[in-house]
């Protein structure tokens, strides 16, 4: 049928196509739906956090990975391999890394795949991740962000973890000051469930979320200080040396409670 189009008709069609190409639809191609700034704060003093008067910590920088996660509840996808050319039930078209759902949302491939492979229940998808760092030897406040969110919808949880915890300090024992080295490797520092944080066309472009740490278990409260083994003039705590102490400190880190306000 194009054979019968007049040249000006063809030019018009191309112009429309070019306009779509350069403008996208209602928003700019490649831009996130929004971004989050996650601020982590701890007002707990060093002595309260350590929880043992014979232990002091040096300034010890700990890297933190902060992730924002979407938890999706599904009724079950029935399994099977995800094939973008054959969208699963509930989706009409899959291309360029996302699927168009029947509700009009654009859902990333990994979310669709997770939904298909779940037997029902919940699935988690990490929306964005940022690294920051804290000094565990004193109260801290640090911000991870901006975290660009490329998929609209609810942001369900903030997860905090460290890829490698190394803390130095000293332990006083019988009048001696013994150097302390704690090497725990990667550990979790808990998570916070978010309420009413949504990213999309009707939401603010940039949002800030505050997390305040409450430490129910001081880091060294469960450590038998007198039982710590000394090697070559220092006390090393790892998963295999003074391992029970390491497990207790890891538990204390993992048990941190995050609240949305330090005044709550």
């Amino acid at each position: 049928m194009f054979t019968y189009f007049k040249p000006w008709w063809q030019a018009g069609l191309i112009a429309v196509a070019l306009a779509l190409t350069t403008t996208g639809c209602s928003f700019t191609d490649g831009e996130p739906w929004g971004s989050l700034n996650i601020t982590l704060t701890s007002q707990t003093s060093a002595s309260d956090l350590v929880g043992a008067s014979d232990v002091t910590l040096d300034a010890s920088t700990i890297p933190l990975e902060v992730e924002v996660v979407r938890v999706t509840t599904t009724s079950g996808g029935g399994g099977g391999e995800f094939d973008p050319s054959d969208p699963p039930a509930g989706y009409t078209l899959c291309h360029s890394g996302h699927c168009h759902s029947e509700s009009g949302d654009l859902v990333p491939y990994d979310e669709v795949r997770a939904e298909m492979q779940s037997g029902g229940g919940t699935s988690e998808v990490t929306l964005a991740r940022r690294t920051t760092e804290i000094d565990i030897s004193q109260p801290f406040s640090t911000t991870a962000g901006p975290m660009a969110i490329g998929s609209r919808g609810d942001v369900s949880e903030v997860h905090v973890q460290s890829p490698n915890v190394v803390v130095n300090g000293e332990i006083r024992r019988n009048g001696d000051r013994i150097p302390l080295v704690v090497r725990l490797g990667p550990i979790s520092l808990g998570h916070l469930d978010l309420e009413e944080v949504t990213v999309g066309p009707d939401s603010p472009k940039t949002r800030s979320v505050s997390l305040c740490a409450d430490w129910p278990d001081p880091l060294f409260a469960g450590v038998d200080l007198d039982g710590l083994e000394t090697q070559e003039g220092q006390i090393l705590i790892t998963k295999i040396v003074n391992a029970d102490a390491a497990a207790s400190i890891i538990d204390a880190f993992e048990n941190v409670n995050w609240k949305t306000s330090c005044n709550a």
Binding site: T3, S26, P63, T131, S151, V166, T238, K239, A243
Partner: protein, 199 residues
């Protein structure tokens, strides 16, 4: 086909392509999480990519994993019932009291099921925190004399591994005698020659 019909024939294709590109542009960026990269402590074994040298690889396992706890069988037990260890994990093995302030035990390691092909042999590296005596014997022959390591040595690992014992093993199952030692437990990471778990 004339040049004119060629041009007209290409028009719908170009238009369709442009429309498709325009349509693809309709939407947000993909949902891949973006973010900066974490830091690494290159001296502690806590690195993202597992090192390929045996000592570095063992140290990496200790950093990354929660040790698996288990209890060794007594030396008089049949090796076939001793708890089994394999590559790629860190073990904290509680030993049995010998009654003389020393401890010992037996575990089982199936080299054949752990990447040694039939008819070949390979150096298997045992890493521990302390200088724990190890000896091996075929799991199928409890009367065989235990054989000590082909070599021993020291390593540097900030996680606390310090000693290495190397055995040349065939594709067989072995009983591994641990001790006697003053410690009530032994930490053990087993790495094959070359480092990676399935090398």
């Amino acid at each position: 086909m004339s040049n004119r019909s060629l041009a007209f024939g290409a028009t719908p294709i170009i238009t369709a392509a442009l429309l498709f590109i325009g349509g693809v542009g309709c939407g947000s960026s993909d949902g891949d999480p973006t973010g900066d990269v974490g830091t690494e402590d290159m001296t502690s074994g806590c690195v993202k990519k597992p090192p390929t040298d045996p000592a570095g690889h063992a140290c990496w396992h200790v950093c990354e994993e929660t040790p698996i706890e288990g209890a060794a069988a007594t030396t008089s037990d049949d090796a076939s019932t001793a708890p089994e260890v394999s590559f790629g994990s860190t073990y904290r093995i509680s030993l049995n009291d010998n009654g003389d302030d020393t401890y010992s035990g037996v575990i089982r390691f199936d080299a054949g099921a752990n990447a040694i092909a039939d008819g070949s042999s390979k150096n298997i590296h045992f890493f521990t925190v302390r200088d724990v005596p190890f000896a091996i014997r075929p799991a199928s022959d409890s009367s065989a004399d235990p054989t000590g390591p082909d070599s021993t040595g020291s390593i540097t690992c900030d996680q606390g591994l310090s000693r290495e014992s190397v055995f040349e093993m065939q594709s067989d199952a072995y009983a591994v005698d641990i001790g006697p030692t003053d410690d009530q437990e032994a930490t053990l990471v087993i790495v094959p020659f070359g480092g990676p778990d399935n090398a």
